[in-house]
Amino acid sequence: MGAEKPAALHDVELAALAAAGDRAAYGELVRRHGPAVRGLVRRMGADSSAADDVAQDAFILGFEQVAEFRGEGAFAGWIKRIAARLYLRRMKKDARLFLTDQTPDEEDHSALDEPRTASRMDLDTALKALSGVERLCVSLCYGGDLSHSEAAEALNLPLGTVKSHVKRGLDKLRARLAPEAGLGATRLGHV
């Protein structure tokens, strides 16, 4: 296995090598899963620069903790959870975590109305219809692989509140992603 190039190895093998200090192996994991982590943090509401900072910190922290990854789940899910928690911590630190039902700003509203008539709607645009806390809850549960309980703990909110935010967020996403007949593959353009 030692002679194999990192690109040819499975995530679990790369993580094992990284746990032994192989930074090149970990670099391959970063290459594979960087987009997923950066995408998740952006979907949680971060701008591109902040998302990249958080993603970078998450991978650095992930390297320090990679021995704890035993391959029970996907590496992508594991590292995304780290990134999601880091982003929340950063928001709290910057006092930007307003857990209220703020509606998106005017700019976001105008951007959202247009795609309703477009032939294709993407998740990132649809997410802008959600309030900040709805977006966080939905992103944490569906993108960050956190259970409702874990999201409630991470956000320091009651479980019922998180479930309500997720439900309201899903209703809004459903209305935008599949307004007529449920979520159709053609509408989503990805299946």
Binding site: Y26, H33, P35, I60, D124, G182
Partner: protein, 62 residues
Amino acid sequence: MSDDFDAQLGRLFNQAPAFPDNEAFAARVTARLDRDWTMRRIMIGVGGLAAGMVVAWLFVAG
């Protein structure tokens, strides 16, 4: 329908957007790892040297 929606939404979230600068991002992370690793080795070396000097001083003085 709700289950379908949940599953589809999960798949949508799992679809990572394309980042044209992905290689550069990975390079930045590995460079930082290398830097941290080098710093750690230097700190360990300095710590070991200091400890050795203390032991040597105690040995000579004692």
